[in-house]
Symmetry: D2
Subunit: 305 residues, 4 copies
């Protein structure tokens, strides 16, 4: 159960089967850093080029295709006081006929937010708005988290899939344990793209983007097949589907939840259909990236016999 | 400001321009009843045929196309102790390749729930499940609520549109004020399809279906154009899009929220893009009916200057 | 086998259960006229208001729910020399990010086309284009064709469904026999919205719109259930799905074809899967109306044993 | 203008930036072979593992990001007499509610087709069907064709994107010239997955799969930006969109055609909107692979002034 302090020197822009930056063991903890979506670090220095440079890959000894990599998110927290966000929502989240009317603003302007890391707030510095200074509570999450995809693919960190990736879901915060299918030896785990705050859907294409301190602990579940990323916290089981359109993302997330309940909770088909039918919850992770992300959730308390 | 006690005698299965069952005035309150989705009333007697028989239409004096009808949901509560739900989730919310594997159950069985109207709970009576008796908190909402559609159309109460309809969204509960565009003289308001409980997405095709006591108060906003239903409660502004696929429902809801913020809150384009980009919330109303429903929400506290 | 010459006096804008304009019998032929999408007749006089005023409904004696109404399109041909089309393609058929760039034209201008009804050509009169006068071959089709929808609904002639409606498919031309499920007594058949020419997808929202002479012959197939409109000509069997998005329209059309081949051609599942897998053809009817239309086709020659 | 006879020894299963198997020059012709989707060669020997092993990459001297690679498909023809196809259509092309009913067949059976390479026919050998021996005309096309994707990605040959890939479109036959955006130095061109016959949509997930003889000629267009693959033959200009759902694939293809007509044919916005509005044609390439493919086509004769 070693704690590794790992200072990243190199950043990949794809989830792929690269030479590991660190080899770790089942049960180990890693304390590291991520740069922001544009490649700026904790000093706001440009140390990599965007989009979404990744810290990793971390090679987990003993991880083989057909296993599951569990990653406990011990602590995710911004490590500098300036965050940035887009100021324009995506045209594809508006009705096409109104795009010209409602998108009539210069897209290149970036908003700057002052992060108070003690109080846990983000305050809009500029541009100035008629609402005055918007102050939002910090809700730090990792936009990018995942393993190397199957068949030795290397896939851009702007999208996501069964291996995780740029899921941009505001449920992936400190205290959550995530589960990824292992496709390549060592799993090859990556993190990046921290968001101090991010709304449902990430409809402006960014959260409040910032560099992060990240602490996580890995464990291996041997010989267990899952198809898509899963997660849990004290209150919920969660599955995610990463696909476009939203309907397909929702289908995937729902199917993975059905499989989970059936296999691990020993529910009959009838029981789990009744339970999901009246208790399922959905979150819209993102509707911005090439693959959208929908989370399917069920409260653990409904699963106690 | 009259309070009308209206006992329904006749139920329509379409939202349409029918002879009003009652004429009411701006500011009036109506206390009435709805039957359940299958046409059973508060005594569990079959008094109409399903699906979704509607109470109404109520003609609001002075309502003209181009106005908005505001409807305050004063009280929605089940009025009998037996509720029923489907026990099978819809095949289209699963990945197509797994439909055969996970849909391997007889679809015709109905679940029965005992409703404790004092304690506010629904307890699964049958079928028996391995989880034992599931007990859920009541969260009563109206699945069907809306006005007569434009051009004299009459449209089945299984679907929804700009006029509202069968939106099956669990945010439409007591304490919410809804806003509908008026398409036909008198607005012609309908209610029906009460759910004692309903999960996100209504993926089994039903909530816990039950007859309701309904109390609502109408008011008119003259010469105000809205395109789609809106709503608000103490905490949130809400807009809904009713369309298939989910992506289009989300586009509609988002566009209607942009219009609302722009017109009524005097926000600049830049301000509202920044605000929605970091603060918007989405709910999945239903992914079961022919038109799906997505709600777009923004907390009112972000709108205070 | 009567031939009825029917001069329309009144036009509905919804497919619905209205008082029939004419009662006809199994085997009868009707010779009638349709006005264009904007309500202009063969003299280009405005005699009805748009969109898509319909000729009908024609009550077919003996038609009952659960029957099929067959309609042979004997002759569809424009009956005036001026046609009109939109000059702007719909923003929703472009990538959202390019809408502002490529939609930078005034939408209200209408194109006028001179129709040579002898030669069978449509020549662009104005606006002037750099390509000079575009001359297209006439390919006359009915955009609107269908019966009264189920449950007494009345649905706008801008959309479509199981009952047919505004399908805007360029395969519905003279020589085709169409099949509609009968939902209401008498079937209540309507026609309208003639297009002298129409491209795949109807992406500008119109064909070359013109009034038509229409001749059709009805026949009844008793006690036969079909779910969606079907059609055939000498070369093809065709089914259509009317839904949004395109994927769902394609699913419906494919399913209806599977059902047709299985029930009427006595093919085994294996045979029809092999055949459709290597021989199916798809046409994109429209991607403009609220419900899109996809046609699924199979050449009859592959079905001969 | 060299003609290279290239015998492949190694096959990649991803479109990526690998060591070139051959370096060629602008104007050169390559004569080579592809194995079938399962890795079987012209002798029906298993020489690679599926899915979709690719021949290449071919490095084109001088090709740089920001150029266009033109590839003339001189000759595509099967080089053995046995072809194979799936015998089951995909569940996701059927309405979800009917999947269980119509998918009731064992999926693992493969159909075998005898290819007569002289006569140009494919004859179903087995399984036996009630239709007897189906005989289809050969229509040889390459399912996989494309270049290395941007940012050094390597992406599975089961899907497609801006770089081309597994587009499975039956319009990519001998006589067509294709145009690809160059993302990586040398373009890195790949071919594979020959289909002797393939229906619209590739709804069974395969065409009639067979090894091919392939002859193609490359040329470079320097400093020309295109976003997505384009193609032309004597009759048509064609663009393709590779995305899911179909609606998005259609948007992409339409946008790319608008850009082409605007930039290379000097059409005004108004002219090209009128022309596309009445003359555009769409083909459904595939609705099976993770990214669907839609082709947008316009007849060249409409573009002559």
């Amino acid at each position: 159960m070693t704690v590794h302090n790992f200072e990243p020197m190199k950043y990949y822009k794809t989830f792929g089967s690269y030479e590991p930056v660190l080899r770790i063991k089942d049960g180990d903890t890693v304390v590291t850093k991520t740069v922001d979506n544009a490649g700026r670090d904790f000093k706001d220095d440009q140390v990599a080029s965007g989009p979404n440079p990744l810290t990793g890959p971390f090679y987990v000894e003993g991880a083989e295709p057909g296993d599951v990599l569990a990653v406990q998110l011990d602590r995710l927290w911004p490590n500098r006081q300036i965050g940035r966000s887009s100021t324009v929502i995506a045209p594809h989240v508006l009705e096409p006929r109104y795009v010209s009317e409602f998108m009539n603003i210069e897209p290149s302007i970036t908003a700057e937010w002052k992060l108070d890391l003690e109080k846990g707030t983000a305050t809009l510095l500029n541009p100035k708005t008629k609402m005055g200074q918007i102050v939002l509570p910090l809700h730090p999450l990792l936009g990018c988290i995942g393993v190397a995809p199957e068949d030795g693919q290397s896939i851009s960190s702007i999208t996501s899939g069964q291996y995780g990736g740029n899921m941009d879901y505001n449920g992936f915060v400190s205290g959550v344990t995530m589960y990824f299918p292992v496709f390549m030896p060592g799993a090859l785990f990556f993190v990046g793209d921290g968001h101090a705050v991010q709304a449902d859907g990430e409809i402006a294409g960014t959260g409040i983007e910032v560099s992060f301190d990240v602490k996580f602990t890995v464990s291996l579940i041997k010989n267990k097949n899952i198809n898509w990323p899963r997660a849990e916290n004290r209150e919920y089981l969660m599955t995610v589907g990463n696909a476009c359109p939203l309907d397909q993302a929702l289908q995937i997330a729902t199917t993975e939840m059905v499989r989970w309940l059936k296999e691990d909770y020993d529910l009959t088909d009838r029981s789990l259909h009744i339970l999901l039918g009246q208790c399922v919850e959905y979150d819209v992770g993102n509707v911005f990236d090439p693959a959208y992300t929908v989370a399917c959730k069920i409260k653990k308390k409904w699963l106690q016999k």
